[in-house]
Amino acid sequence: MENFSEVVGIFFSLDNFLAIAVGVVIGVVVGSIPGLTATMAVALALPFTFSMQPVAAILLLVGIYKGGMYGGSITAILIRTPGSPASACTLLDGYPMAQQGHAKKALKAALYSSVIADFISNIALIFFAAYLAKIALNFGAPEFFWLICFSLTIIISLASGSMIKGLMAALLGILLSMVGLDEVFGSQRLTFGNYNLMDSISFIPLLIGLFAIPEIIEFYRKKAIPHIKAKASGAGLAFSELKRCMKSIVRGSLIGVIIGAIPGTGATAAAFISYSDARRRSPNKANFGKGEVEGVAAAEAGNNGVAGATLIPLLSLGIPGDVITAIILGAFMVHGLTPGPLMFQENLSLIYALFLGIMCSSVILLVVGNVAIKYFSLIADIPKSILFPIVLMFCVYGAYAVNNATFDVGLMLAFGVLGYIFNRTAIPAAPFLIGFILGPMFEDNLRRSLLIGSNDLSIFVRGPITWVFIVLTVGSIALALYRFISSRRDVRHATTTPPEL
């Protein structure tokens, strides 16, 4: 009862509601603009949260995340350009519907399925996060060491493209996280005598540089293309149509929850799995890909079902499941909080206040989404030539604001160039960021294990939990190898098969 009043006291403030509403609006706006991603928006919003209370700050970022997940579907449906990779599946049926004059119906189906999936995902978060945290209380340093190994390998194994490049990106991320003063001996590591690097590389300039600047560089590097206009028209979604899609929405939501709870999998996979599951089971399977409303609903349910579930490993284990949750982890750290099992003991009221806010975000998404259908398609009409100079301004101001140092602006631009090189050479940026975040935890748990075990390496295989994570780590590497070999087999098959005439 005491906790309940504390939770209510923390949560029920105007700042929190405003943070969620502003977050969802920003997310939907940014998500609906092709080329701007929810990741970019969350990264750019992070410096704004410095002066906010921790709950409001996290809710703002979660709001952007959730809004961005839905916002991506607007342009996918209207102009066949997904605002985020996860919305790519929505356009399979959404765009044909728009072409047939049913854009509004497709947008409404996407919204309602997104909200339902988001709600289911939030409930899963509330039920499972505390349970998982309770289990994780039994973890010591060796168990956390292997858990981090597993998280790194599964993110690499499920990242698209070359496994070798994914591994190297993660290693580079871990290496950069070591720049600064060594935590045990206090000796300098790769600082080159620069005092700006003594306190390690700032997270925010790295983040903004890696995810916002490459888009800007690419835009000015390539030839300008004409801007496509968007328009939402036609009738809305009838209740009977929503009812018909309900089974696919619930199944898609559960698929999203399961996939979201596994670090590294992401919304794109969930959307496609949910879509193919709905197509397999639907009586209208022949209409899928030609403008089937159930296809839009299933894709969006899978996509949004991930949103709450990705917070399960973050809150209960302190392990980010994807890039956005990695940024949210950074926000926790900026506010002096460390997500993980201990947070459920020390800051339980804060966690439950966050849960309340996350539940509220689903309702706000419904309201904002309805307005978005009417007006936000106009935002997609703003050309990138006007948007990107403003985005760059936010990047520079945000990076400078971290330490009031131009060094951080330079650092952000350097990471921007690195991110651009990563894009051009197909090196995935996600393992790099996760490596950078998990690097200090990895080294800390390694050293603590050695200290606990008095330098005896058998500490790393001390019990069943460590063995579970060892098996999972080896399994994820094997999965990565399998995926790599089978994708290469497909390439070879494609290059040896003569094209059909």
Binding site: F48, L171, L190, R221, A224, F388, I390, N404, T406, V409
Partner: protein, 168 residues
């Protein structure tokens, strides 16, 4: 002796992977043999070499070295994926790109001296010219947005920025 005509020529199947591998190999060599020994100080007494501040960076260096060799080998053995070909972009004019770089230089070189508003206006104007934006009223946004965004940071979010030139 083998006749020159029968010699097997090794063909690069993925140039991108080859270049990436060579660059990372060079980086790994510099890291392992120069940066780690010279730029990471080791305490005089260590009970376990694994506790050394040099240990993990060195391991990472060796792993990058190993994987970059694998990447180079992969470039000779495996074809580039078709999706990697999609990365190819139709390059725009050099003027456009140079002006974008100029705007970045403006931010880095002048931000503290000239202030956030002045730099924002100048860099945004340069980027509008780079594209080029042909609608005249859009240029007014280049003056409006830096002021709004700077005030948003300073006044609303209490995040300090150098607003005016020379610290005024």
């Amino acid at each position: 002796m083998t006749p020159s005509g029968s010699k097997r020529r090794v063909k690069v199947k993925d140039t991108n992977d080859l270049i990436t591998g060579i660059v990372l190999l060079g980086f790994a060599i510099v890291l392992v043999f120069y940066l780690v020994p010279n730029y990471i100080n080791e305490p005089p007494i260590l009970q376990n070499p694994m506790m050394s501040p040099r240990w993990l960076p060195a391991i990472i260096g060796w792993l990058i070295l190993l994987f970059s060799i694998l990447l180079i080998l992969q470039a000779f053995i495996l074809e580039g994926k078709t999706e990697e070909d999609e990365r190819a972009i139709e390059k725009g004019s050099t003027r456009r790109f140079v002006l974008m770089v100029l705007s970045l230089v403006i931010y880095v070189a002048l931000f503290e001296a000239m202030g956030a508003v002045f730099c924002g206006i100048l860099a945004t104007l340069v980027l509008f010219i780079a594209h080029p934006v042909r609608t005249w009223w859009v240029y007014s946004l280049a003056f409006l947005f830096p002021i709004i965004v700077a005030l948003l940071f300073v006044e609303v979010m209490n995040v300090p920025l150098p607003i005016m030139p020379f610290g005024f």
